[in-house]
């Protein structure tokens, strides 16, 4: 079992207040400032819960895909992944769109797409989200 934590302090109302994500226990990032206007309108260089979910998802997906490819005997040289999270205020998070561009010696496009599809469904972050969100994938080999 693995546990990871993070802390946030918020001051004031939702619309006019602001918050800080403290430096995380690993020391990898933070402090980061958050606010409603930067979450729901122009970010102006500030992160948001949706961006952090995107970062977690893209990272989890890349790791799962590298694992799947290696287990199939086609360890990747490089994978470039991204995740885009769509948030509709009042409705919720409606979509997580994953993409992958792979540099994988000796693998054809169809098998890469299959591996990416499995990673999309199997990575732990997808497991926590799927069912409540539209999950899409666009995967191709580096040309």
């Amino acid at each position: 079992m693995t546990e990871r934590s993070a802390q946030v302090t918020w001051q004031g109302s939702l619309m006019e207040g602001s918050g800080e994500i403290h430096e995380v226990p690993s020391g990898a990032f933070g402090p980061l400032q958050i606010s409603w206007p930067s979450r729901a309108e122009e970010p102006a260089g500030k992160t948001s819960p949706e961006e952090l979910i995107a970062a977690a998802h893209a990272a989890c997906f890349a790791m799962a895909l590298s694992n799947g490819l290696a287990e199939a005997g086609h360890a990747p040289e490089r994978l470039e992944t991204s995740a885009t999270i769509t948030f509709v205020p009042g409705t919720g998070i409606t979509k997580a769109a994953l993409s992958a561009v792979g540099t994988v010696p000796g693998l054809d496009e169809a098998r890469f797409k299959d591996a990416a599809e499995q990673a999309k469904d199997g990575c732990p972050v997808s497991g926590a989200l799927k069912g409540n969100v539209e999950l899409t994938l666009d995967a191709r080999l580096q040309s």
Partner: protein, 145 residues
């Protein structure tokens, strides 16, 4: 209703067990965050993050904002710690199984109104709703004098 999109990019080099990745935020708020499998499933730290640490930051931020929206108090002070738990589930591999929230708040409300605000914040926080598809959300909340 506006649709808001936020994205992040990752470059992963090498295999799952021996490779490593770097994470960039679309807004530029953070970039070049390193992560790897040994750090993700081990004790952590070494200055490297993990998907679960990023989810913890997302959930703490999301819940704090939702609670601020419920309390409607310009002088409120809300402190949220999120603890995201990943475990190996028989037949399913590693899964995010729980996010534990510890909330401490100072606001001009009584205990009953505070409890209702916490429940409404859980229902209103998009991340809480999202991960309930596959994981538990537990909340321990305390109103400070």
């Amino acid at each position: 209703m506006p649709r808001i999109e936020r994205h992040a990019d990752v470059i992963w080099d090498g295999t799952n067990t021996r490779g490593s990745g770097r994470i960039d935020a679309g807004t530029g708020a953070f970039s070049g965050l390193e992560y790897s499998l040994p750090v993700r499933v081990g004790k952590g730290a070494e200055g490297k993050t993990s998907p679960e640490e990023l989810l913890a930051a997302a959930h703490a931020g999301c819940f704090a904002m939702s609670l601020a929206g419920e309390l409607r108090d310009d002088d409120a002070r809300i402190h949220v710690t999120a603890n995201v738990v990943m475990d190996e589930v028989s037949g399913k591999g590693h899964l995010v199984v729980e996010s534990q929230l510890h909330v401490r708040a100072r606001a001009q409300v009584d205990q009953g109104a505070f409890r209702r605000a916490v429940e409404a914040a859980d229902e209103g926080c998009p991340f809480s709703q999202l991960i309930k598809a596959g994981a538990r959300v537990s909340i321990n909340a305390e109103l400070e004098a």
